[in-house]
């Protein structure tokens, strides 16, 4: 076989591997992986943004220990480097598949669903093995996992069996034959490795996602991740497929700049997706229904004029008088779905803490907004956010002083 034929053969094999991955079925595999497997695993690990959660702030990459606040207490991510004692170096691909598929670790212990196995369960065996193959190439780090700090009764792992019974639906992603291959690829990425719903889907009191109404907005830690379904005000109806792909690929489009937890997702994960995959995600998201449109009342005139004064003094320099922002630099607030989200926490958090846009390959600048938490008090932030959510044709529920003070308290005690 001459070199050219060999390359062609390899390329075909890789392409075919990518295309059929969603249909692959379980088959025992030898722990021998090709370069193609490892590269695919790396790609999928990025699509899943594994490194973000599995790296403590300022900690060693992939060695875990990142605090993940949940309504039930604090959970810490695991060391997934191939260290034999403290990482997953001793795990077989079966062990790893069980963790991804059923949320059960090598010792048979149930994992907390802060680890998004309810989504990863859709990832087929071939892709899971590829991820493990990639993880095995990382530098082993010796770092013992930190135990969760949960409130009773959630501290009892046995509770998790009940949770899993109620809410976990193990099973691979099944393509919808009525939809295009592109739509199915997007659905797989979003519902599988991307686990977008972990933040963007509403959750019940036990943290279980509302599978019937996916991506209609939900809480991510303490801020509200906006609706990614349809919605003239708070959804993606105003975004084209191209807009979505551009946002995920670079962190910025004509409508928004990624802020809050999403900035990290773009930075660490979605900017590495191929154009085809970004387009597929966009096609899938554009097919989703949104929540029923609410009709919030117009805020009180006094609140609006107080908010306007604060806006002119603090915000208009960058976001401009008409809330239109500055193309490519500072995001528009007018007609913004994130601003008009059902819940205002993201907007409040950005004002209190500031925000840094992702610094991606396409947009390396990483422009930042400073924190105004020291300058504006709760009443002022409430008036300002109410104003922004209801000026220039925007309309969304009024923000109260209590909303601000509550979030301010939560952010102050959040792990840094």
């Amino acid at each position: 076989m001459n070199a050219r034929v060999a390359v062609a053969f390899l390329l075909t094999a890789i392409c075919a591997g990518t295309a059929i991955s969603a249909q692959q079925v379980y088959a025992p595999q030898k722990p021998h992986h090709t370069w193609g497997d490892i590269e695919r695993g790396k790609y999928l690990a990025r699509a899943g943004d594994c490194e973000s959660c599995h790296t403590a702030l300022g900690g060693k990459p992939w060695a875990g220990g990142r605090a993940v606040p949940t309504p039930f207490g604090m959970v810490y991510s695991m060391n997934i480097t191939p260290d034999k004692d403290t990482g997953i170096g001793a795990w077989s691909s079966e062990d790893f598949y069980r963790a991804m598929h059923e949320g059960i670790d090598r010792e048979g212990k149930r994992l907390y669903p802060a680890f998004p196995y309810p989504w990863y369960t859709h990832v087929p065996r071939g892709d899971v093995d590829a991820i493990k193959a990639y993880l095995d190439t990382l530098k082993p780090v010796r770092q013992v996992d930190r135990q969760p700090e949960l409130h009773w009764p959630f501290s009892m792992r046995s509770m998790l069996a009940i949770w899993d019974k109620l809410y976990l639906h193990p099973g691979q992603f099944m393509p919808d034959p009525k939809q295009s291959a592109q739509w199915n690829r997007g659905a797989y990425l979003v519902e599988g490795p991307g686990h977008c719903g972990a933040c963007h889907t509403d959750k019940n009191f036990l943290g279980a996602p509302d599978r019937k109404n996916p991506m209609q907005g939900g809480f991510a830690e303490h801020v509200f991740a906006p609706n990614l379904g349809a919605g003239e005000r708070d959804g993606l109806s105003g975004w084209s497929e191209k807009d979505i792909a551009q946002y995920l690929g670079s962190g910025i489009n004509a409508h928004a700049i990624a802020a809050g937890p999403m900035a990290e997702v773009v930075q660490q994960s979605t900017q590495y997706l191929t154009q085809d995959d970004l387009q597929a995600v966009a096609v899938y998201l554009k097919s989703l229904a949104g929540p029923e449109a609410s009709q919030p009342r117009m805020p009180h005139r006094d609140t609006m004029s107080e908010g306007q004064a604060l806006y002119v003094d603090n915000c208009a320099g960058c976001h401009m008088d008409g809330g239109e922002g500055l193309a490519n630099a500072f995001p528009p607030l007018r007609e913004s779905s994130a601003i008009q989200a059902a819940e205002p926490q993201l907007l409040i958090a950005v004002i209190l803490q500031g925000a840094k846009s992702p610094a991606t390959k396409a947009k390396p600048s990483g422009l930042a907004m400073p924190a105004f938490g020291d300058k504006l008090d709760d009443v002022e932030v409430a008036a300002l956010t109410t104003y922004i959510r209801n000026e220039w044709g925007n309309r969304a529920a009024t923000v109260s002083e209590h909303d601000v003070s509550k979030l301010r308290g939560t952010l102050a005690s959040a792990p840094q």
């Binding site: 960058c318 630099a329 500072f330 600048s365 422009l367 400073p370």
Partner: protein, 586 residues
């Protein structure tokens, strides 16, 4: 005993404009580069945030982001027969400390020097005869021409997003621009800034008296700008807090807002803050630099070996480091021999305050928001019988209308108390001022050397500055101030207060931070420390950046030329690396 660290390819002393440019260029060429910065890390957010940066007392009066004289300063005297004393407060100029250097706190007044500036001796002798240059004036040609630097000026302008109106594109004069500028290959990347009321008045008045006003080229973005490296800049808000402040919204060009987002992501670049370089080390021959020695913030000493050393610190600091490292022949004013410390120069500015009849908006400012005439700069006019050479621009800058330091009240207004308040109340919104920004030539007895008495915190002698203004400069500033007064008179006014500068140079009041020279460039190793590529004649793997290499000053702010020279030198360094030889043989 200094701890010896692993060798790097290139070590940069300082991490301001020139270091950022050199680092960006050399890392692109695949080299491994390390920058050592004596100050701390700074970034737009949180350090220059809009929530606190517009604090005049903190930054302009108390000088928070400048060099701390308790750590490093210099001694000063006007003449060689005087005793020099250390400066314990910054006065006449404000060097920076920290990443970004003075590129953080500059105004953004970004100029190209005139083609004649680079050949000033030749030009003066040819046009006016050798006698026009006094015996003690040691001006010299730069060894590089405007035409050679043009592509590198362009590079700096497209890096920074300069807002301006071209005056001469490929020899074609452009309406509204500076008709005296050297030909440029293309227009500025951004249109000029919006004008404030006072600049409109200046423009009209200058035209009335037969001059050629144009909007100043500004490193303040008039529109959002995606620069040549793909870094996004914002749009100036005309807040009036540029000079002595960091920019809050990415609209003033600085290393942070133009280069660092790209540079800091490169695996072959690194930097260390709070590392003060105290020596350039050489091998036994003294002809080859082996790296630098630095002290970190815990007082620990390190030796950083490097195959190439580039001095990118503030103008005088580069000279100081050469002197304490005993590299190059120190300049001796008695014999006129030696090159390190030779040809120090400065600038000479004067002001004309105008109380207008028309209501103005002085609070609408930007560091380089101004209207300028260049009719009396360089050799743009006939100096026959003028009694001086060179010149300067006359500008109406509206850098800001800050409450403490930026009121240009009528002559005789009280400086404090109820009378001052009354004047501010009645006149602030009608007041503006013009600046004459004059060149200073270099002289045999204006120079830099080491102080025999005073030492810095590392035990090194302080740098000693011996400097005063000479007859040429006095004649020039009087001429410029008279011209500015003539323009002022054409503005409908309630009063004009001309304030020419006379007598000896005083280091106490702020004038400009445009110190130049001390390791001049040129074609002759007897009168220059670096060749036309900014490479040391004596130590070919040592390079000097910044206005340190200007053989004399020009009538412009220096940053544009400093930036262009850095790009020019970076190209030469890439050639040097392929064939490590002196790039100019003598």
């Amino acid at each position: 005993m200094a701890k010896k660290l692993p060798e790097v390819e290139v070590v940069l002393v300082g991490f301001g404009w020139t270091a950022s440019i050199i680092a960006q260029e050399l890392t692109d060429a695949g080299m491994q580069v390390l920058a050592l910065e004596r100050g701390g890390w700074r970034d737009t957010v949180p350090d220059f945030s809009v929530t606190h940066i517009q604090d005049e007392l903190r930054y302009a009066v108390r000088k928070e982001i400048f060099e701390q004289t308790a750590r490093q300063t210099l001694t000063f005297r006007n003449r060689v027969d005087q005793l020099a004393l250390p400066m314990r407060h910054l006065g006449s100029f404000n060097p920076a400390s920290g990443v970004g250097g003075a590129g953080v706190h500059w105004n953004g007044q970004n100029w190209r020097f005139l083609p004649t500036d680079f050949v000033i001796r030749t030009q003066t002798e040819q046009r006016y005869g050798k006698k026009m240059i006094p015996d003690d004036m040691t001006i010299q040609d730069w060894g590089v021409t405007y035409d050679e630097l043009e592509p590198y000026y362009d590079k700096f302008e497209y890096l920074c997003g300069i807002s301006g109106q071209a005056g001469n594109i490929n020899g074609q004069l452009q309406p509204g621009g500076n008709p005296f500028e050297g030909p440029r290959k293309r227009d500025y990347p951004l249109p000029p800034l919006k004008r404030c009321a006072a600049t409109v008045l200046f423009d009209k008045a200058a035209r009335e008296v037969g001059l050629h006003p144009f909007p100043a080229p500004a490193a303040n973005t008039s529109k959002p700008y995606l620069n040549s490296l793909g870094v996004q800049m914002g749009q100036c808000t005309y807040c009036g807090y540029c000079e002595w402040f960091g920019c809050a919204n990415y609209s003033k060009a600085s290393p942070q807002s133009t280069i660092l987002p790209v540079l800091l992501k490169k695996p072959n670049f690194s930097f260390r803050t709070h590392c003060a370089v105290t020596r350039i080390n050489t091998d036994g021959t003294g002809k080859h630099a082996t790296g630098v020695t630095y002290v970190d913030q815990d007082g620990k000493e390190f030796e950083q070996p490097a195959r190439m050393v580039v001095l990118c610190a503030f103008a005088q600091h580069n000279v100081h480091l050469l002197l304490v490292s005993k590299i190059g022949a120190p300049y001796d004013p008695a014999s006129g021999n030696g090159v390190v410390g030779r040809n120090y120069a400065y600038q000479l500015s004067s002001t004309v305050n105008v109380t207008c009849k028309e209501l103005l908006n002085p609070f609408m400012g930007a560091g380089a928001l101004g209207q300028v005439v260049d009719d009396f700069n360089g050799d743009n006019f006939d100096h026959t019988d003028k009694g001086f050479i060179a010149g300067g621009y006359i500008a109406l800058w509206n850098t800001g209308g800050r409450p403490i330091l930026q009121e240009y009240l009528p002559k005789g207004s009280p400086k404090w108390g109820s009378g001052w308040k009354k004047s501010v109340h009645e006149d602030y919104l009608y007041s503006t001022h013009m600046q004459c920004h004059g060149a200073v030539m270099s002289y045999r007895d204006n120079y830099l050397d080491l102080d025999p008495t005073y030492k810095d915190e590392y035990g090194n002698p302080l740098l000693r500055l011996t400097f005063t203004f000479k007859q040429n400069e006095h004649a020039m500033t009087k001429f410029l101030t008279d011209q500015a007064t003539r323009i002022a008179q054409a503005i409908p006014n309630r009063g004009i207060n001309s304030k020419p500068r006379s007598g000896d140079y005083s280091i106490v009041p702020y004038q400009t931070t445009h110190n130049t020279g001390g390791a001049a460039m040129g074609d002759d190793p007897r009168t220059s420390f670096v060749n036309r590529y900014l490479q040391s004649w004596d130590v070919p793997n040592l390079w000097v950046m910044g206005s340190t290499v200007f053989p004399q000053n020009a009538g412009y702010n220096p940053t544009g030329t400093v930036g262009a020279l850095a790009f020019w030198a970076a190209e030469a360094m890439k050639r040097y690396v392929r064939d490590p030889q002196p790039l100019v043989q003598v």
